[in-house]
Symmetry: C2
Subunit: 149 residues, 2 copies
Amino acid sequence: MAKSDFDIGDFLPYALNRAAEASSRGFQRYYKAKYGMTRTEWRVLFHLGRHGAMTASAICRKSDIHKTKVSRAVAALDKRRLLVRRPVEADRRHETLTLTNAGQTVYRDLAQAAQRFDADLADLFAPEEQAVLRRCLARIAAQGDGASG
Amino acid sequence: MAKSDFDIGDFLPYALNRAAEASSRGFQRYYKAKYGMTRTEWRVLFHLGRHGAMTASAICRKSDIHKTKVSRAVAALDKRRLLVRRPVEADRRHETLTLTNAGQTVYRDLAQAAQRFDADLADLFAPEEQAVLRRCLARIAAQGDGASG
DNA sequence: TGTTGTTAGTTACATTCTCAACTATTATCT
DNA sequence: AGATAATAGTTGAGAATGTAACTAACAACA
């Protein structure tokens, strides 16, 4: 059964990882150099900028980021005054997170930069290829844990 | 220019990351639970198992893993007696790394497991889709740093 | 031979991640 | 009401990573 010539380059998770790292590098350098931001911080900022005020746990659900990472990212963004936390009256375990004006400015800048990087990447492919690629990626992500053993 | 409805899900590096993480999870759990291994350790082991004895710097070149990570992974594998280091007579800066019998056993087990996981993933796609996917991933990885601004 | 530069690999430090334990608040069930 | 469980979010310890500085061995050239 096991082909002895199975190479690590054939291993899909490996190929995905390398592509993910390569494609992230440029944008990562951008927000790191310009705002000293972490990937998690950027993602949290993005969710708030794109979808409006929400609680930390809502971000967790939407993004699949672990709550400790979100918690720390929120603390960092709060410290830099890019967002404010407001306790929810009805349930004081929750805090509503809202971007400040400064936070929205950063969000807009990063969102635009992200679009530029994305467009550059998209140039590598024909439209049909890109469609297939995105479809495949979505399917892999959706399949979640799956994969027997 | 900037479409305001640009969503994080549309951002290719993000989609790649999620797919990479989702696809890695199962296998990662496997080698972590069974051998207490790190991803870097597995990769180093794999290179040695697949391509035979080589030096640490050769592994760095082939795998694009940073030398400090390789160094630590080699130390860990050495400690568990999965490989042996043999200084190269002609140039004593080098060490030849060779898997022990125990190391080869682990390699074979992990290589087979990797193939199983890979096959399960491949089942998500039609053959043409899979071809396109792999081609796209290779192109992204190859493009390396690229991406202008 | 001695100086300078390069390469292989390790070590140190600061940051980030993971995982488990913890506090505070609300929900449930009797 | 009172005990128990669940949820939101934080904190702390240990592992993993990234970056830079370091040691040791070789190369090249005066």
